[in-house]
Symmetry: C2
Subunit: 216 residues, 2 copies
């Protein structure tokens, strides 16, 4: 009677907790670039016995792959919290880029894991790539962006997003809003908007993202 019986048993929850601890440890090691550590070090960091590792993963490679996978889907989850009824596709793209840029400091570990993979962030079907492509194409068709090759457009868009992340991590003193919005407006101009129009879009109010709901 006390609610629906939790479909995940306590066993499942314990298992999930352990798995999450291993993945989090792996993410930390990815961020530090220490992929060569023995499995024992991963398990110590996760505070589980070494034998437990093999209950969850068959090898170190498999764990690291899961750690990246997990970062990607957490990132995508945060992004999904951001779909409202904007109709101008240029404005929609601008808003997504500005919000994505703000995720670097909001979710530093996830951001750093993805940045450590460099390019992977944009390549995955779960990353920002597909969304951005869709919005850019729409803006081009609406005559808002210059009608250039999509791959070429993505070079500037994803390159800027990745380097923006590095910059925000390297210079904690830097003003986040100013930096993200400045870079966004540079990207919009590269895509074909007039500078004044780009800056107008980047000055619009943003919905807040406390979208850590559902994460770790």
């Amino acid at each position: 009677m006390s609610g629906v019986p939790t479909s995940t048993s306590r066993f499942d929850k314990r298992r999930a907790r352990t798995r999450a601890a291993l993945i989090e440890a792996a993410q930390g090691l990815l961020v530090e670039g220490r992929l060569g550590v023995p499995i024992r070090e991963v398990t110590e960091r996760a505070d589980v016995g070494i034998g437990t590792f093999y209950n969850h993963f068959a090898s170190k490679d498999e764990l690291f792959a899961a750690a990246i996978e997990s970062a990607l889907s957490q990132w995508a989850e945060s992004l999904d919290a951001v779909d409202d009824g904007t109709t101008d596709p240029a404005a929609l793209f601008a808003r997504s880029f500005r919000l994505t840029g703000r995720l670097h400091r909001l979710e530093p570990q996830i951001s750093r894991v993805l940045l450590s993979q460099g390019h992977a962030l944009s390549q995955s079907p779960d990353g920002m790539g597909p969304r951005a492509r869709r919005d850019i194409r729409a803006a081009q068709e609406a005559g808002r962006f210059l009608d250039m090759d999509l791959d070429r457009a993505m070079v500037v868009v994803t390159g800027a997003m990745i380097e923006l992340g590095h910059l925000l991590h390297e210079r904690p003193g830097l003003d986040e809003a100013e930096t993200v919005d400045g870079v966004t407006s540079d990207v919009l101009v590269a895509l074909g908007l007039e500078r004044a129009e780009a800056e107008r879009l980047c000055a619009e109010p943003l919905p807040s993202i406390d979208a850590t709901a559902g994460l770790g």
Copy 2:
């Protein structure tokens, strides 16, 4: 009497050859992302005995560091072959970016090593970073580029260069000149040039770079 005695003895040359073979093997492994391989595999790839490894490097980490270092300085060497008397700093920047972009396919192994380090390409004092900063600042002072924060400018510049490299490697069918020059003009526009002016600069003739002189 047959010329100046070569200051590098045959010993030195043999040593250098072996070291170069080890570094090249390491670069190949970096490109493949296989940093975890045993030293034995590196030496087999370089076709030297395993004991020889320790004549040159104290550890795998030291070798990989040298491999990256080497890629960086080969890259810088290629870039240095490109200094003529252009006076317009915007034109100078445009030309450097276009030439640097063409290096990805001209020196694919070096390019891939640096891309595998992601961000390192731009951060090193030998990379394209310092040059680009100098040229951009000059163009800003000459009123050719928008007077924006240098770090912000570099986000778009280095981000685009890195993603451009990935794109050129991933899509061998893509037309190199068209892609590089297109991205360059997007970057110039982001930095503050008018689109027409940017395209004009990117249509100017380029000196060829057979600058592999001194490499490999």
